[in-house]
C-alpha cells in the first residue's frame, strides 16, 4: 500500500507500523472498570465503509497518524492519485 502520511506525503507501507482501529480509551483517573476498558479495546464496531485507523510512521516523522481506510479496497480517504 501507499500510505498518505499527513506529514510526509505518500510513503510505502514498509515505513509504517500498524496500530489498529482508532480507540477511545477511558481516562486513567481510576473511574473506568474492566468492562468499560474491554468495550473500548475490543468492541470497536465495524459500520462498514472506511474505518479510522492509526499508523506509526517509524521510518519518517515518527508520528502516530490517523487515517481512514476502506478495508475492502484498501483505499485511503485522502488516497494518493
Amino acid at each position: 500500500m501507499l500510505i498518505p502520511c499527513p506529514n510526509c506525503g505518500p510513503r510505502a507501507e514498509e515505513e509504517f507500523a500498524f496500530g489498529g482501529p482508532v480507540r477511545e480509551l477511558p481516562p486513567l483517573d481510576g473511574t473506568a472498570d474492566a468492562k468499560a476498558w474491554h468495550r473500548a479495546l475490543h468492541g470497536a464496531g465495524r459500520a462498514g465503509g472506511a474505518l479510522p485507523e492509526v499508523w506509526y510512521h517509524h521510518a519518517g516523522c515518527e508520528c502516530w497518524v490517523t487515517l481512514r481506510r476502506d478495508l475492502a479496497s484498501h483505499a485511503f480517504e485522502k488516497a494518493p492519485t
Binding site: 500500500m1 510505502a12 486513567l28 479495546l41 502516530w64
Partner: protein
C-alpha cells in the same frame, strides 16, 4: 553440430557468430538473438521434455512465456536452475541444458509405460488411488508419487548468483512493448510523462518482431526498431527489456523481475515500481485446439510457427498442416510457411475437424494428421508440423490479480477485463482488440486518457478500438487423449469426469483435475478449460466464471524475490560501542536480535562451558564486567514527566525521589506484562527509562502512542537516547573497590551511594559518567554509563584498575546463568506476553493508589483466578541430573505414550556453578503454595524424565544481602 532446420536467410539473429551449448550432453549451436528453443529447433531437437503424469514426449507448443511444456534445467555458470521455459531463455555461450522428468533418458523413459499400462492417471487419481492404509502413505505412496511426478530437481546448494532489489517511480508504466505498448509509451513520452516501459523479452516489439503488416508506410518490424530507438533517446523514459511484470498490488505497485547480463554485478533485480497509471499492453496468447493427440511434438501454435520462421529463421518442420480458425491468421500462416519454403499439405478452417495425430514409433513426434475433409471423408496427411489456432486469449492476469473480474464475452469468445482496475488500464490485445491498427489506436488512446486523468495535458476524448469478434471452436472429439492442459496432463475426458463426479464449479474442477495449476497458471489452457466445462455442464461459457489469478504471472526465481537479503545481510548487523575492544579481548560474539553481542570470553584452550563457569565464578567471588549498551534508554523531560511515567508503569512512583531509581513493570492495556526495566528519576521533571534490548523499538512505539494519542496535552518531551550511551556494568563483591579506584567525583561508599541510586559526575576528573547502582546478577553492581564515544576510554580504565581484583569480562551466557540463579526475569522467556505481575511473583509492585495502563483489565476474573501458573524454582531431587530444557511438569513419572496431566513447564535450566548442581526456573500451577513438593520434569523429545523439587525462583542469596556489598 550443424543446424539442419535453420533457414538460409531471415530472422533477427547474428549469423556471423556461433554460440555453443549442450543439450543432454550433445553439443549444439545457435546464434546471438536465439532463444534456447529456437536454437534447439534449428538443431532438429524437437522433443525436449516428458510430460508430468503420462511422461509423453513434449516439444514446443509456443515460442514465448506461454509455452506450457518445454521446461528444462539450465546451468549458465550461475548454478543449476530447473523448470526454465526453453522459449524464454536467451541463448548464451557454454550453457549446459538438461531435459527433465525422464528416467533413464529422454528417448527411453520408464514412466511412459504408465500410459501403456492401462487407463492411466485420470482426474482425482491421487485422491482415489493412494487412500489407505494410512501407514502406506509414508512408506510407499509418497515415494512413488515423488519419483514419477513433478518437474525438475532443485539445486540444494547455495545460490552462487547475486540478486538485488530496487525501487522506481513513474507517472505512466507501460507493460509490454508490442504495437499497443510502443504506441502507448511513445504517446506518454512525447506528452512529457515520466514513463517506464517493461518488456519480458530481450527485444522490444512483441508481435511486431514476427507478424506481417505495415505501420506508417514501413514494415512493422522496422517501425518497432525505430520506436525502440526513439524511446531510448528520451530522458523521461526508462526502457526495461528482459523485465517481467509479474505482480500487481495496491495503489499502483507492480513487481518486475529483471534479468541482467551474465558477468554483471547481479544476475537479477526485483523492481518495485510505483506508477500513477499503468497501461497493461501484455497482448494476447494464442489458444491451442483440443483434439486427440494434440500434444505431440510438432503440434504448434500458428503464431509460434510464424515466430520461429520470421524472428529466428528456423523451420519447425518440413511439411505442414494448417488448422487455424481465423481467416486472416490462416492466410498469413500459409504465406509465411511458403515464403520459407515449407510445403503446406493441408489447410483446415476449423481445428475441430482434426480427428487425431500419428507419431513416430520410437520418439512419438508428429508424422501424420488425420482429419475430416469438407465432405466428411476421413483423410490423412503426412506432416511433421501442425499449425493450430482456436483464436486468442487476452493476457489480463495483472488486472485480475487485483480483483478485477474477467467476463466471458460471447462475441469475442474469450475472457475480457474491465476497463479499469485501480490505476491499471488494459489496452490492445489485453482487452481483446486484436488487429494491428486497433492495437496502435488503443495504446495511443489510453495513454492520452491517462495523461488527461493525471492532468498532464488537456483531457482528450479518444475512442478506443473495438473488441475483435472471434469464432467459436468446439473442443475435440472422442478417441485418444485430447489435452486441455499440456503442463499438467489434463485431458478433456478428465474435465468431463470431474463434472460427472460433481466437481462442477470452476474452482473445484481446477483442484480436482489440476487444470491450470503449476508454473503455467493456465496461460494456454484456461480458455479451452472453460469451453470444455461449459459444454459438459450444458451452460454458456459466460456462466462458468474463472479461478483466482495470483502473482506471479510467470515463475520468478526465489533468489530474485529474496534479493541481497541472505546470510548476514538479512538484517543490518549492529555492533555495540564496545565491539572493537571486545574483539581484541578474544570475545566470541553471537547475534541477539540485530545485535552482535558478547557471548563469552574464552581463555586459550578453554571451551564454552569452561569459560562460562569461570566467568560466573569471577562475578560471584570477585569482579566481572558486562556490556549493557543494547538496552533501550528513553528520556522524558517536562513538568508532566512524572505524571506520564506514573501512567505507563504499574509501580507506585510517588515515593521515587530524584537521584533514585526503581525496577518497574510496564503493562499492556489488557493487563499483561509488556516489559520490565529501570525508572531513573534524575530530577522532578527529568526521567530516564530503560527497555529490554529486544523490546526497544516496541516500547518506544508504545511511549510515542501514549504520548501522542492519549497525553497530547501533557507538557513533556520524549527523546530516544539509546544510542547516545555506552554502558558497562561492573559486578561482584569487589565492585565498590573498583568504583573507588576509578576516582569518581562523587562519594561512593554504601552510606552515600546505596542500592537503587543514580550519581552523575566524572571518573578520574575527566571522563563524564552516570552511575546506576542496579544489579541483574544479584551481586553488588554498578552500571557505568558514558557518552557512547567514550566507551573505549571507559573499558581501558575499568580493565586497568580492575586488574587488582582479576576483573573478568563476561558475556550473554554467564549473564543468563547469573540471572537464573537469582530467579530474575527475562523478556521472551518468562515475560512471554501471557503473564500478570502476580504470575511473576511481583504483585507487590502493583500500586493500588493510582491508575495506570492495564489496571482495569488486570482486574479481569481470569487474570485473578486461582490455578494460574506461578513463577518458581526447581531442583533435581538427586542434585545431579541435568534438567531437560523446555521440559513439562507433571505429578507422575513419564510413561511412554501416556498423556500425563501437565502442571507447568520450565523456562530455563542450567547447571549452577555457584550451587554446584542443576537448577531451573519455570511456571507451575499455584506454584508458590507448593514449596517442597516433588514433581517430574518430562521431555519426551530428549527422552528424559527427572524428579524435581519445587522451591523459590531465587535459588541463591534469597534475602538479597549481596546487593549491598
Amino acid at each position: 553440430m550443424t543446424q539442419p532446420f535453420r533457414l538460409p536467410q531471415g530472422g533477427l539473429i547474428d549469423r556471423a557468430r556461433l554460440i555453443h551449448f549442450t543439450f543432454d550432453g550433445a553439443p549444439m549451436t545457435g546464434h546471438p538473438g536465439d532463444t534456447l528453443a529456437s536454437a534447439l529447433l534449428a538443431c532438429g531437437q524437437r522433443i525436449v521434455a516428458r510430460s508430468l503424469k503420462y511422461h509423453r514426449p513434449r516439444g514446443f507448443l509456443g515460442a514465448g512465456l506461454e509455452d506450457p511444456s518445454a521446461l528444462v534445467t539450465v546451468d549458465a555458470g550461475q548454478g543449476r536452475i530447473p523448470n526454465l521455459k526453453a522459449t524464454e531463455v536467451q541463448l548464451c555461450d557454454g550453457m549446459i541444458v538438461t531435459s527433465q522428468n525422464n528416467w533413464p533418458s529422454l528417448q527411453r523413459d520408464v514412466g511412459a509405460l504408465i500410459q501403456i499400462a492401462g487407463r492411466g492417471i485420470s482426474a482425482g487419481f491421487y485422491y482415489k488411488t493412494f487412500m489407505w492404509p494410512r501407514a502406506a502413505w509414508y512408506r510407499w505412496y509418497e515415494r512413488i508419487i515423488r519419483a514419477i511426478a513433478g518437474h525438475g530437481r532443485i539445486d540444494a546448494g547455495a545460490d552462487p548468483a547475486r540478486h538485488d532489489k530496487r525501487q522506481a517511480f513513474c507517472e505512466i508504466l507501460v507493460i509490454g512493448s508490442g504495437p499497443t505498448g510502443l504506441a502507448a509509451a511513445l504517446t506518454a513520452a512525447h506528452g512529457g510523462a515520466t514513463t517506464i516501459i517493461v518488456e519480458a523479452d530481450f527485444l522490444l516489439g512483441g508481435s511486431l518482431l514476427w507478424d506481417q503488416g505495415q505501420i506508417e508506410g514501413m514494415p512493422a518490424r522496422e517501425w518497432a526498431e525505430d520506436a525502440a530507438r526513439d524511446l531510448a533517446t528520451l530522458s523521461n523514459v526508462t526502457v526495461m527489456p528482459r523485465s517481467l511484470a509479474f505482480g500487481h498490488y495496491d495503489h499502483g505497485q507492480v513487481l518486475v523481475a529483471q534479468s541482467c547480463d551474465a558477468g554483471g554485478a547481479v544476475q537479477s533485480v526485483l523492481w518495485k515500481i510505483r506508477a500513477r497509471r499503468i497501461i497493461l499492453a501484455s497482448g494476447a496468447v494464442e489458444r491451442p485446439a483440443v483434439f486427440p493427440g494434440n500434444d505431440r511434438p510438432g503440434v504448434m501454435l500458428a503464431s509460434a510457427v510464424r515466430t520461429y520462421l520470421r524472428r529466428y529463421g528456423v523451420a519447425p518442420g518440413r511439411r505442414a498442416v494448417i488448422a487455424v480458425s481465423d481467416l486472416e491468421e490462416r492466410r498469413r500462416t500459409r504465406a509465411d510457411l511458403e515464403a520459407a519454403g515449407l510445403r503446406v499439405v493441408a489447410e483446415l478452417d476449423d481445428p475441430s475437424r482434426i480427428s487425431g495425430t500419428s507419431g513416430g514409433l520410437i520418439r512419438g513426434e508428429l508424422v501424420a494428421v488425420r482429419y475430416r475433409g469438407e465432405d466428411g471423408k476421413r483423410l490423412r496427411a503426412g506432416a511433421d508440423l501442425l499449425c493450430v489456432s482456436a483464436g486468442w486469449t487476452p493476457t489480463a492476469h495483472l488486472a485480475a490479480q487485483m480483483g478485477g473480474h474477467l467476463t466471458w464475452d460471447q462475441g469475442a469468445n474469450c475472457l475480457l477485463p474491465a476497463g479499469a482496475t485501480g490505476p491499471m488500464r488494459p489496452a490492445g490485445g489485453a482487452r481483446g482488440a486484436l488487429d494491428l491498427a486497433g492495437c496502435l489506436a488503443d495504446g495511443k488512446a489510453l495513454a492520452h486518457r491517462a495523461m488527461g486523468e493525471l492532468e498532464l495535458h488537456v483531457p482528450m476524448v479518444v475512442p478506443l478500438a473495438p473488441v475483435t469478434p472471434q469464432k467459436t471452436v468446439k473442443p475435440g472429439t472422442r478417441g485418444g487423449k485430447a489435452f486441455v492442459d499440456l503442463q499438467n496432463d489434463v485431458t478433456q475426458a478428465d474435465v468431463q469426469q470431474a463434472v460427472r463426479e460433481g466437481y462442477d464449479d470452476v474452482e473445484l474442477a481446477k483442484r480436482y483435475t489440476t487444470l491450470g495449476m503449476g508454473t503455467d497458471q493456465g496461460k494456454t489452457s484456461w480458455a479451452n478449460g472453460i469451453v470444455t466445462l461449459a459444454e459438459a455442464l450444458g451452460r454458456p461459457a459466460s456462466a462458468i466464471g474463472h479461478t483466482t489469478y495470483r502473482p506471479p504471472y510467470s515463475p520468478v526465481q526465489i533468489g530474485t524475490l529474496i534479493g541481497a537479503e541472505t546470510g548476514t545481510a538479512m538484517t543490518p548487523t549492529r555492533r555495540t560501542p564496545f565491539h572493537r575492544v571486545f574483539a581484541a579481548a578474544g570475545c566470541v560474539f553471537q547475534t541477539s536480535g540485530d545485535w552482535l553481542y558478547a557471548r563469552y570470553f574464552p581463555l586459550a584452550g578453554e571451551d564454552m562451558a569452561e569459560a562460562i563457569r569461570r566467568e560466573v565464578q569471577a562475578v560471584r567471588r570477585s569482579l566481572g564486567c558486562v556490556d549493557m549498551s543494547t538496552l533501550g534508554k528513553f528520556e522524558i523531560r517536562g513538568p508532566d514527566a512524572a505524571r506520564f511515567v506514573e501512567e505507563l508503569y504499574c509501580n507506585n512512583l510517588s515515593t521515587l525521589k530524584p537521584g533514585r531509581l526503581r525496577y518497574g513493570l510496564m503493562l499492556r492495556e489488557d493487563g499483561l506484562v509488556f516489559d520490565d526495566g529501570t525508572i531513573c528519576c534524575l530530577a522532578a521533571d527529568h526521567y530516564v527509562l530503560s527497555a529490554t534490548t529486544t523490546r526497544r523499538a516496541s516500547v518506544w512505539r508504545h511511549l510515542q502512542m501514549h504520548r501522542q494519542l492519549r497525553c497530547a496535552g501533557m507538557d513533556l518531551v520524549l527523546t530516544d537516547v539509546s544510542e547516545q550511551w555506552a554502558a558497562l556494568a561492573i559486578a561482584g563483591p569487589e565492585a565498590r573497590a573498583l568504583l573507588r579506584a576509578l576516582a569518581p567525583s562523587f562519594a561512593c561508599e554504601s552510606a552515600d551511594f546505596p542500592f537503587a541510586a543514580i550519581r552523575g559526575g566524572t571518573l578520574g576528573g575527566d571522563l563524564p559518567v552516570r552511575v546506576l547502582s542496579v544489579s541483574f546478577s544479584g551481586e553488588l553492581s554498578y552500571e557505568l554509563c558514558v557518552p557512547a564515544g567514550y566507551s573505549e576510554a571507559l573499558w581501558e580504565r575499568v580493565m586497568t584498575a580492575g586488574q587488582a581484583w582479576d576483573i573478568c569480562p563476561y558475556g550473554l551466557e554467564a549473564l543468563d546463568v547469573l540471572r537464573i540463579e537469582k530467579g530474575h526475569l527475562s523478556v521472551g522467556t518468562e515475560i512471554d506476553g501471557r503473564r500478570t505481575p502476580d504470575d511473576l511473583g511481583l504483585s507487590g509492585l502493583v500500586s493500588t493508589k493510582k491508575d495506570f495502563l492495564g489496571r482495569a483489565l488486570l482486574a479481569r476474573p481470569a487474570l485473578q483466578a486461582d490455578g494460574r501458573g506461578q513463577f518458581v524454582g526447581l531442583t533435581p531431587v538427586d542434585r545431579a541430573t541435568a534438567l531437560p530444557f523446555g521440559a513439562h511438569l507433571s505429578c507422575e513419572p513419564y510413561v511412554a505414550g501416556a498423556q500425563p496431566a501437565l502442571e507447568g513447564h520450565l523456562t530455563a535450566a542450567v547447571v549452577s556453578p555457584t550451587l554446584g548442581h542443576p537448577i531451573a526456573i519455570g511456571f507451575l500451577r499455584n506454584g508458590r503454595a507448593r514449596m517442597g513438593e516433588r514433581l517430574w520434569a518430562h521431555s519426551p523429545l530428549a527422552g528424559v524424565s527427572v524428579e524435581v523439587e519445587v522451591g523459590p525462583a531465587c535459588a541463591f542469596d534469597p534475602k538479597g544481602e549481596r546487593l549491598h556489598g
